[in-house]
Subunit: 201 residues, 2 copies
């Protein structure tokens, strides 16, 4: 770190993030189809050629937005798995809370993904669906292990991971920062609901 | 029934349904913003003035699409509530199964609603959100009654109705008719998951 090369890559990451952030806001507010790269460039006060030096086209910006939430969720899952934990119950509670916080923090990105995924190229769409499937699969394994360890009820099907993924993914649709419930209350409810679904109460 | 007036209103309902059906397919496949009333008219082999005799504008067709699933869900809820039932557990299982089947049957409409709701007028959006809130509220009451009757676990918060609504609403995102699981398997899983969430296992 600190040498020219890493500084340059930090600049690139910074600029890429700023583009993704501005585009996400625009796509969220106006819809992907109604937005052009001219709008994105104007929002950032840059030229269109500047955007093209970071992204091939509008679709590749959309792909970066759509990928962000699930990529962060997978990283969080790996971090929790790698750390010490008292039980599978504890593990599930920690993963769900972390990923729930990501989804609330990245609410706009997740909503853009859910609304606009049909505009992704099939390569991008497949890649993101594989990441989602990997997340569900790992949660499924965690639940299977918890059942085998006698911590979760014996009749719980690991497929319940898809429902837990649904609970998490559904938050951005109804949660509002201006609503009655704080983010942490929502996370607490989410953890309780997920533990119930896993038969880990 | 059978007189001229009711036959006429049947014709109107039939034509309205056909318009909503064709528009839903187009909005689902191409996105609302990319579709014009010309596309809808061409799809049906009718003129644009024909469409205007049934709908004020493109947005009012979208509103009809978005309203359809939740209207059918509320009707199903009322029917189940009005019929005999052995227990609150039974009541919840029946409602969730019925509404789950509606959501699978109306998959395209629900997906269009979730993707395109931001294009609704605020009057239509508010009306549909009130219908959704009424559904969640009635499920919340059912759960409260079940807790008071000692059928559901005492520490279950009626707010869990929002999570159950989430499970149901999430199905169209991941369920595929060509997938590994039949619709009835999905419904069975949905009922089990909802009963777990309500502490009614």
């Amino acid at each position: 770190m600190g040498d020219g090369a890493s500084l340059k890559s930090e600049f690139v990451a910074f600029k890429t993030n700023r583009i993704v952030e501005a585009a996400s806001r625009l796509f969220y507010e106006r819809g992907y189809s109604s937005c052009t790269l001219d709008h994105v460039a104007a929002e950032l006060g840059v030229t269109k050629p500047f955007l093209y030096s970071y992204f091939k086209n509008k679709e590749s910006i959309l792909a970066a937005i759509c990928e962000l939430g699930i990529r962060e969720a997978l990283t969080a899952l790996e971090q929790v798995m790698a750390a010490d934990h008292a039980s599978h119950r504890d593990l599930l509670a920690q993963v769900v809370a972390k990923v729930g916080r990501i989804v609330i923090h990245r609410q706009e990105y997740v909503v853009v993904y859910q609304r606009e995924m049909k505009h992704l190229s099939s390569a991008d769409s497949d890649r993101i669906l594989r990441m989602r499937a990997s997340f569900d699969h790992q949660i499924g394994n965690l639940i299977r292990d918890g059942v085998n360890a006698g911590e979760f009820e014996a009749d719980v099907d690991p497929f319940v991971s898809v429902w837990i993924g649904g609970l998490i993914s559904w938050i951005p649709t109804w949660y509002s920062r201006k609503g009655q419930r704080s983010a942490e209350e929502v996370i607490e409810h989410l953890v309780q609901a997920s533990l119930r679904l896993a038969g880990a109460n």
